[in-house]
Symmetry: C2
Subunit: 114 residues, 2 copies
């Protein structure tokens, strides 16, 4: 059920942590694989909603990060959903190329615990 409130009102209702961030779970629309977990601040969410390109906050670089801007491995966002607490987002995306910077399809590939 799409939320009909304005994007800004929806972003205001999100619960960011003490760093101003919330976790974003990223799932591939077609394969249904969980690709990665990333972090977003309010501006990253706003840009994602405005552009349809998955946008995050890079904690290591301390800057806005448009996925695929360097690698070409972009994520086109089909939907953005909040969880019941409003403190986590789920981006369902069409992934171009590998989601993981290691070159694998997902960041969860191949390291399965016992």
């Amino acid at each position: 059920m799409p939320d009909t409130r304005s994007a800004e009102t929806q972003i205001d209702a999100l619960v960011f942590d003490e760093r101003g961030l919330l976790p974003v779970v990223v799932q591939e629309a077609t394969t249904r694989e969980v690709l990665m977990l990333a972090w977003a601040n309010a501006d990253a969410v706003r840009r994602t909603l405005e552009t349809g390109r998955a946008t995050y906050w890079s904690r290591s670089r301390g800057e806005i990060w448009v996925k695929g801007e360097t690698s070409g491995h972009a994520q086109h966002v089909r939907s953005v959903a909040t969880d019941c607490d409003g403190d986590t987002l789920l981006y369902v995306v069409d992934q171009t190329g590998a989601a993981c910077h290691t070159g694998t399809a997902t960041c969860f590939t191949g390291r399965e615990l016992a």
Copy 2:
């Protein structure tokens, strides 16, 4: 590819945040839906691996939380995978009943942003 190191060695290799926690993405094995995002400390991961029952750290209650212990809506864990950075886990589970405490199948149901 299952990791053949001991569970304790694998847990030691995980990257927990300053609170001693890491985020856990939970995906249903059959429906492939992303059910929820929860948090785990080392002990929660250890118990999950030992028991096969999804176990988390409840930030609101400040205690170990075996999913479904109160509600009956347990999660039987098929696999636990780390991401490329070792700072996020993916539990793939068989969910009994509703995953969300609100009674919906997933915590991401019905609140889709524009």
